[in-house]
């Protein structure tokens, strides 16, 4: 009965008629995440309100061999929350409550649709916060963060999302309601919690997440150092880390971005700087004072043009505003861009930045950079104009060369955005057949019929082509677009 009126009736029985989106224009809103290059609308969108509804949805889809595509806020950058072969998209936006705040145990349990920033807002007055801070944190959901194992500027000191997830409630692709981990650490057995984080919805749907809360640090100090050349800034990054200082965040902003941010966001970064480092220290007052002094020294030694220290929260917020809204500011420079998320070992930073510039020059494209320099996680934005014939192709070639350059230095395909549809075909550049086969078999343990988010994360899924009926037309004829 797949995707028949009877199937729709089943969905409505589970989540209620108001919980199903089936109109063409309604489904259109769900055809892509923030990587708008990849489009595929689901046949139905369902918005469950309870874990039990999610269990029933997955069991129904498994019985009917229908693909299940999880979606949080849809702010992913990898073509993850879209439906390349149609099926049922499960949007978690109505499951957005905080279930438990437990400060003595330094933990919180939340539903997957809860917005990341809301958790820190709810806990900060008690002296706690949730450390993972992707730039999308004011809109992205914690379920999405855990599914993609999201990062953020402060991961340098505090680690990525997986280091902050203590337990999960998951509905697996086999339709099981699985509870793993929790407030008590080191549960005996395999670390399923750790292995499920970053599953990108290919293993199951997260329905509750228990996370670690950290105490708000005693003090914060934010510095901004500008340099005439990106090379100097890169060397300064190595020297800071080499001095045994792990700042909370260590972000690089290149000349192109400094210009765009100043014009678009008005952050007031030093005009004409070839590169800017945004450095944040947090911790006990005496520690950050001493470290700040050392960092100022190091930046001077590396020919810094100017060093500013935020004097209060307002100044600090302004320094960060430019960084957090950088992706938006780039709209002033170019209508379209390709964003890369590759990683290089920190020591190769000066080298890869020279390579990025060379690749841009070779393809006659501007490549703008704003990234997490402290951990070597690049975010080159390859700017192109899709109205100019051939530019998209040149941008794609540049993107490919860049990725290969990073991997040749011992890097990784993605540092924090995830694989999704976008990078599934890059996986063989980093992993061998045996490695990929291990991952495919791991996936099958949770999703024996291959219904969970097909086409994502791995270059091909063992169940692809067998488990699915032929894809329905993505959008019916006559839909207004």
């Amino acid at each position: 009965m797949a995707l028949s009126p009877a199937f729709l009736a089943e969905l409505e029985r589970i989540v209620g008629a108001r919980g199903v989106v089936s109109t063409p224009e309604g489904r259109l809103a769900y055809e892509c995440d923030m990587h708008t290059f990849y489009k595929g609308a689901p046949d139905f969108v369902v918005l469950p309100e309870t874990t039990q509804q999610v269990v029933e949805l997955v069991r129904l889809c498994r019985r009917e061999h229908v693909a299940v595509v999880p979606r949080g806020s849809g702010t992913g950058l990898i073509g993850g929350a879209m439906a390349p072969v149609g099926g049922v998209m499960v949007s978690m936006t109505r499951m957005n409550r905080i279930l438990d705040l437990d400060f003595p145990n330094r933990s919180a349990t939340v539903q997957p649709g809860l917005i990341n920033l809301w958790l820190s807002q709810a806990t900060r007055e008690h002296g706690y916060y949730f450390a993972p801070d992707p730039s999308s944190q004011m809109v992205s959901s914690i379920g999405g963060n855990a599914s993609t194992n999201a990062g953020g500027p402060h991961c340098l000191k505090y680690g990525i999302t997986v280091n902050h997830v203590l337990g999960l409630e998951v509905v697996t692709g086999a339709g099981e309601l699985l509870r793993v981990g929790g407030k008590a650490q080191d549960a005996p057995g395999y670390d399923l919690t750790g292995a499920l984080v970053g599953g990108e919805g290919t293993l199951g749907l997260l329905t509750a997440i228990t996370v670690r809360l950290l105490h708000v640090p005693a003090g914060v100090k934010t510095l901004l150092a500008s340099f005439s050349a990106i090379d100097d800034a890169s060397e300064a990054v190595s020297a800071i880390v080499g001095a045994g200082i792990i700042p909370a965040a260590l972000e690089m902003i290149d000349e192109t971005f400094v210009r765009a941010i100043n014009e678009g966001v008005g952050a007031g970064y030093p005009k004409g700087a070839g590169a800017v480092l945004l450095i944040e220290l947090d911790g006990p007052a005496a520690e950050i004072e001493a470290q700040a002094g050392r960092i100022v020294q190091i930046c001077h030694d590396h020919a810094a043009l100017e060093i500013r220290v935020a004097q209060d929260d307002t100044e600090r917020a302004l320094l960060w505003k430019g960084r957090k809204e950088a992706a938006g500011a780039v709209g002033r420079m170019s209508p379209t861009w390709i964003l890369q998320d590759a990683v290089v070992p920190r020591s190769r930073l000066p080298e890869i930045m020279r390579e990025v510039q060379a690749i841009g020059a070779r393809h006659r494209l501007v490549i703008a950079n704003v990234f997490h320099a402290g951990d070597g996680n690049l975010h080159p934005m390859i700017l192109y104009d899709d109205r100019v014939p051939g530019e998209l192709e040149r941008a794609q070639e540049a993107n490919d060369e860049l990725l290969r350059a990073c991997l040749a230095m011992g890097g990784s395909v993605t540092g924090e955005h995830g694989v999704g549809l976008d990078k599934a075909w890059s996986m063989p550049l980093q992993f061998g057949d045996a490695d990929l086969s291990f991952m495919a078999r791991f996936r099958r343990v949770f999703d024996p019929d291959g219904i969970m988010n097909p086409g994502k994360l791995l270059p091909s899924h063992p169940a692809c082509g067998e488990g699915f009926r032929p894809a329905a037309p993505r959008l019916p004829a006559g839909t207004w677009v």
Partner: protein, 434 residues
Amino acid sequence: MSAPALADALAAIVGREHVAGSATELSAAAVDGVTPRWRVQPSSVDEVSRIVKLAASEGLVVAPRGSGSALHLGMPPARVDFALDLSRLTGIMEYIPADMVATVQAGVRLDVLGRELGKHGQMLALDPYGGRSRTVGGVIASGASGQRRFRYGTGRDLLLGARFVQADGTVTWGGSKVVKSVTGYDVPKLLAGSLGTLGVIVEATLRLHPVQPASGSWLFAFTSRDTAGSFVAAVLASTLEPDRIAWLNAGALVRAGMDSSDAGVAVSVGSVAEAVSAQGAALASMASSQGGKASVLDEGFWSGLGGALAGPIAVKLTSEIRRLPFWAGELERVFARRGLSPAMVGEAGNGVLHAAAEGSVPPGDWAKEIVSPLRDGLSAEGGSLVVERAPVELKRAADVWGPIPEPALAVMKRLKAEFDPHGTLNPGRFVGGL
């Protein structure tokens, strides 16, 4: 294949001098009294792969080992054919201090690695009890942790990438060699703490940390467990940033060479010198408001904690952080019923408690009067009790891991069936009989 033919096949892989077959050598390599048929010492990843492949094709059982210091962990094996000794895999394959990442072979000892990293002011923040002579692979595979986990996490957090040999001998890589990567599934998480039951870790890429420029350690002695618990809660609720927060009972304090008191909390801080002394002063003032007496500790105190946890019986209890003082009391109470007086050391900021005891207890009493009551209470709160070391008869009387709730156990069984369908790697020793 006949026994002599197997011995020849092993010798062909590693050389005759690295295959031990004498009764003395083998009994020294016994696991819970079960003697392996051979102890084999490969010197390369390829040799490990060929040994495992040989075992798989012959239907034999492989028990991997590092320094051999954690062989007591797990259920007693039904049989062991190859004791796969990884202590010759001692290569530090890649270490670029500026990256703060090192790739090492599984048999590298923590003390050897520590000396190399120390030359560059760096460290691997894994400090299992009694463990500087333990190997990297063994510590990660056995999920061993120590007091530094409060600040730096455990093996799962520090293992960025792993090369491992699957049950059919296939050499496989998971994870990455950079500090931040989300490319594909986090396979290293699956291997950390899996006791070699899904694959034999042969190479680990590790996240390192800078050694702090200054550090200070203090012991705060209290007259009751409750006041010590209140002090820990106050530290956790403050903005202080300790490296380690150890809770010790009277037995552990005495064994660690300290003056006896009802409970002690040892705290260390690593930072710049100014911040160390400022935090030390803040800790002392918090402790004194709970009636605690402060004394300064040297670094040797921390490495001596393993000695405080010696003894034929050792358990690891986990609970909610705030419930740890309660469970420490319960553990002491049920042990005392059978005349056991445990030394206890808690990772107080993580809700983890290690207890060790001398003496003996009848197996039936062990299961019914000690293990079951604790597990019943703990499991209602999501906690656990793992018997990490005990005489074989006690291990047989009560599953050392405790029950795993469904459907988590079903998933774990499917993982084992997928990656080791013929039970080549440490069969029967892990949770749920896996």
